[in-house]
Symmetry: C2
């Protein structure tokens, strides 16, 4: 049996191992508990390699986010705007409350508040996610559910913002009902006479 | 001339001095740079007092938030729902981008993501602010602009959430236009057929 090997050269394999270890460490200890030594040990890589390439915990987080930016959210495709938006906000809610993925996602958000590199990586990450999820609105326009000109990324932001606000700002509980209401609010907005010109980013 | 003295006993004055010092230190160094020694020195209080009463930086932040929870936002009263909501979101935007108050507010949010005590204090703080700001919706109902039953705190949350999301999650710029559009979206929602039953908190 060949050992399972990641595609790519040695440098790619080291990066994958280190970022996997970073994610696992974030899940267990959060951003404050992220240590270069523990990541190196977990990845089976010499710690000088980790220091040289990623400099500090914020470098690890930024690179893990860069890698994650290339990975899609599974965008719901239910056949209706409301169904898709409800699927999206519920996906987000369960992702953040899941005992495995939740702490990692929260660690990314925390890191973004503490380091400009992590903040820049988060911005790239979320821009990619919002652009992808905007297909929900584009499909609704194609089906005739919405009039052309509705800004998909802005509707997506309105759907998800209330959940992030509860989770990370006001520290209020987020139930399935909150996720559904945020989706329904975004759908109502998309259909309303609320100005639909695209917003300068 | 009598020296200017805060009202209350010695314990109250110590608390005021320490929390003022905490706020000043947060403005200069953020939450990560908050040191018990610097706060004690700035407040002119022995550091053992600060350690005994507040235990750590998160205790200082939680108490500063408790004090702030009793201080109101200046809620706009322009005579229209849209004017009031626009005033509210613009107030928030300028508060977070102001070179003096912005870093303190951001430090509070950052602390909330790192310590349960700070998170609990933030929750109390924002619950008080949302409840206060809900008067915007109550006035609109009294004027006949909105039908009774619209949940004021939820409309307020929808108005402010997109700004927090840009500032602290996606790290996107927040312009006056973003603040206005978020207010307009919340106003459109308040007027829409979007379900208006109060949401279980």
């Amino acid at each position: 049996m060949e050992p399972q090997r990641r595609p790519g050269g040695r440098s790619t394999r080291v990066r994958e191992a280190v970022l996997d270890a970073t994610t696992a460490e974030l899940a267990e200890h959060g951003f404050q508990g992220l240590s270069m030594e523990s990541v190196a040990q977990r990845a089976g890589v010499h710690k000088t390699t980790v220091y040289r390439r990623w400099r500090g915990p914020e470098g690890l987080v930024a690179d893990a986010l860069d890698r994650a930016a290339g990975q899609s959210w599974p965008i719901p495709d239910t056949g209706t705007l409301i169904g898709d938006l409800r699927g999206l906000t519920e996906l987000l809610r369960t992702g953040f409350t899941d005992p495995e993925s939740g702490p990692v996602a929260a660690a990314f958000v925390t890191a973004g508040m503490q380091h400009p590199d992590a903040a820049a990586a988060l911005r790239t990450y979320y821009t990619a996610r919002h652009t992808e999820a905007a297909v929900i609105v584009e499909r609704a326009i194609a089906r005739g559910e919405l009039t052309p000109g509705v800004d998909g990324t802005e509707i997506v932001r309105f759907a998800v913002a209330p959940l992030f606000h509860r989770l990370f700002i006001a520290h209020e509980p987020v139930t399935a009902e909150h996720a559904r209401r945020a989706a329904d609010a975004a759908a109502a907005l998309a259909r309303s006479s609320w100005p639909a010109e695209p917003c300068t980013p």
